[in-house]
């Protein structure tokens, strides 16, 4: 028999095989079920973990090599940006408010994703997904760290960056992204993978990292551009993992289909709601605009997501529920969100403003079906009122949706003049929802969502004041007490951009950067 001469170097596939699969074993001292206690309770049936295919056959040694190179590039740019006073070269100081939102609302989710993937990876009996989850877990902590490092440069000069950790667990609007990730993180490992790996990474993160980060570059923010693209270069791998998870689960057992479909419906809707924030950042907070939220949605959700779900149809998967409403909403949600923040700017850790005339024209042009009819007159009215000295800051706390925790700001499908309200009686209480989607998600797992920490309820229950504060004292100012509890400085971190310390400083410093005074 001829001896086959083995190749000197292993091919990519063989190397991957040796460096992942070869590392697993069946436990004997304890049963596999005891070692992997969460692998079965969600009802997902896996018969053969060896069928898992990781399309990017990246092994740990290659992973470290390429990640190290990405880090070197990233820090070279971040250092250069800081050394060159890069913050003074952004288009307009209003832009900095977009990165405040990023640090406060998004970077902490990267850290939660790190924890989530570490947890999911630990719980899967299969070696392939364990290795992939380990890498993703490391990626996610890298994202949290690089974002914090990069944005800490802004914290030296501008307000609103100083206590993102503290604020995440307290500030009203930050409960939206936080509760989204808490929901995923407290689910089982398979649901977490469908929630974050598939629905969020595959279907939705392009919207955050691609057009918004390209917009950051367009607005002169090299720091955000570099951490954004560096993070997204990992996302390509994450998306591939997310898609593999779905295919793997569906190919393992026909009983898995309805469970997975329900998760896709739930998590696409949940993620879509969270992205309202990104829509507003793109349409209102980038002084130089690259594409509208609606255009980004059409490219990255409708076109790509459409191709994806057409492909998955062979497994019996149908597109996520409530797409009709999502389709109509793309003309509205960014405007509804900005209107809300403008109203509640006294309780925000960033500044708001009315867009300039040319920005209003841009919005009219990008949103021909909705902007002039519903939103432009409102913004112009607020601008007139502010000019007359009647800038109105809403101090009445809004009702929140029990599921997504967003104030009830969204309108009825088909009628943008009517706020959408839904309610459910459960046990002895009434629960309120912003949409059919959020209502149905609640009804599927009421015991989970009745535990929601809703900022408005918590304020009314007296749980959002510092220790020793007496709400019954004469002259008690609840807003001031809540802002103290948030560690938010009234008059510095909040209110309008016009007249803010950020605006004054930026103008003065930019002047110093270009003149010898």
């Amino acid at each position: 028999m001829d001896m086959k001469v083995s190749k000197k170097k292993l091919g990519l596939k063989e190397k991957y095989q040796h460096m992942t699969r070869g590392l697993g074993w069946e436990t004997t001292y304890q049963s596999m079920d005891e070692v992997f206690p969460y692998a079965k309770y969600e009802g997902i049936k896996i018969h053969d973990w060896e069928k898992w295919e990781d399309p990017f056959r990246l092994t740990m040694d290659a992973y470290w090599k390429y990640q190290a190179e990405k880090e070197r590039k990233l820090y070279a740019i971040i250092d250069a940006y800081a050394q060159n006073n890069g913050h003074l070269s952004v288009t307009d100081a209003r832009y900095i408010n977009a990165v405040k939102l990023f640090l406060n609302g998004i970077s902490p989710l990267e850290y939660m994703a790190h924890r989530g993937f570490a947890h999911a990876g630990r719980q899967f009996p299969g070696v392939g997904p364990r290795v992939a989850c380990l890498m993703q877990s490391l990626d996610e902590i890298r994202h949290a760290q690089t974002q914090i490092h990069s944005l800490s440069n802004y914290n030296k000069y501008y307000n609103g960056f100083h206590e993102y950790r503290h604020m995440l667990e307290r500030v009203w609007y930050l409960s939206v992204p936080r509760s989204f990730f808490d929901d995923a993180y407290t689910a089982g490992p398979f649901e977490f993978m469908v929630a974050i790996g598939f629905s969020f990474e595959y279907v939705l993160t392009n919207l955050l990292f691609v057009p918004f980060v390209s917009g950051a570059a367009y607005n002169g923010d090299m720091g955000t551009m570099t951490f954004g693209f560096s993070a997204q270069s990992d996302e390509a791998r994450h998306m591939t993992l997310g898609l593999e998870v779905i295919k793997f689960i569906l190919e393992q057992d026909p009983d898995n289909l309805p469970i997975v479909q329900q998760w896709i419906d739930k998590w696409t809707w949940r993620g879509y709601r969270v992205l309202t924030l990104v829509g507003m950042m793109m349409d209102y907070m980038l002084p130089k605009r690259i594409m509208s939220w609606k255009e980004a949605w059409e490219v990255y959700f409708e076109e790509n997501g459409g191709a994806l779900f057409k492909d998955l149809a062979r497994y019996g998967i149908r597109p996520p529920k409530w797409l009709d409403q999502i389709e109509q909403d793309k003309d509205h949600i960014s405007h509804q969100a900005w209107g809300t923040f403008y109203n509640y700017a006294a309780a925000c850790n960033f500044h708001t403003w009315i867009p300039t005339d040319d920005e209003l024209d841009w919005l009219s042009q990008k949103y021909p079906n909705s902007f002039d009819k519903y939103y432009r007159p409102r913004l112009e009215f607020w601008r007139e009122e502010a000019k007359k000295g009647n800038r109105f800051y809403n101090k009445t706390l809004p009702m929140l949706c029990q599921t997504c925790q967003i104030p009830m700001i969204f309108t009825e499908p088909g009628d943008p003049t009517q706020i959408c309200y839904r309610e459910v009686d459960y046990k002895d209480n009434k629960y309120h929802f912003c949409s059919d989607g959020c209502k149905e998600i609640f009804e599927h797992e009421p015991e989970k969502y009745i535990q929601a920490w809703l900022p408005v309820h918590q304020i009314y229950q007296g749980n959002c004041f510092n220790e020793g504060v007496d709400p019954t004292a004469e002259g008690f100012d609840p807003l001031a007490a809540v802002l103290d509890y948030y560690h938010l400085n009234f008059g510095r971190d909040n209110l309008d951009f016009e007249g803010s310390e950020d605006q004054r400083n930026f103008e003065a410093w930019r002047g110093m950067a270009t003149k010898n005074t």
Partner: protein, 89 residues
């Protein structure tokens, strides 16, 4: 037919990669945006190591793509020589 895409950062490393992709995929369309290039293609798209190597004049490991990659869609099939993106429909 559904489209796949690959998006890369705009820089010196990717200039030849993009050129190679466009040469190997005549049906692909490059769409330049601030700091990035998005290449869309109907059905499928292939990134071929040999074409890149010819252009850059050195050995190239396809996994180097990860350094400048921004995003992609479609099923990924990666070998030592090619990275293919495709949809099954």
């Amino acid at each position: 037919m559904s489209k796949v895409f690959i998006a890369l950062q705009t820089n010196d490393d990717t200039r030849s990669i993009i050129q190679a992709i466009l040469a190997d995929n005549p049906h692909a369309i490059a769409n330049e945006q601030p700091a990035m290039v998005k290449i869309d293609a109907e059905g499928s798209l292939v990134v071929r190591r040999s074409t890149i190597e010819e252009l850059i004049g050195r050995d190239f490991d396809l996994q180097e793509l990860h350094i400048n990659l921004i995003s992609l869609t479609g099923h990924v099939d990666e070998t030592d020589d090619e990275l293919t993106l495709s949809w099954n429909t």
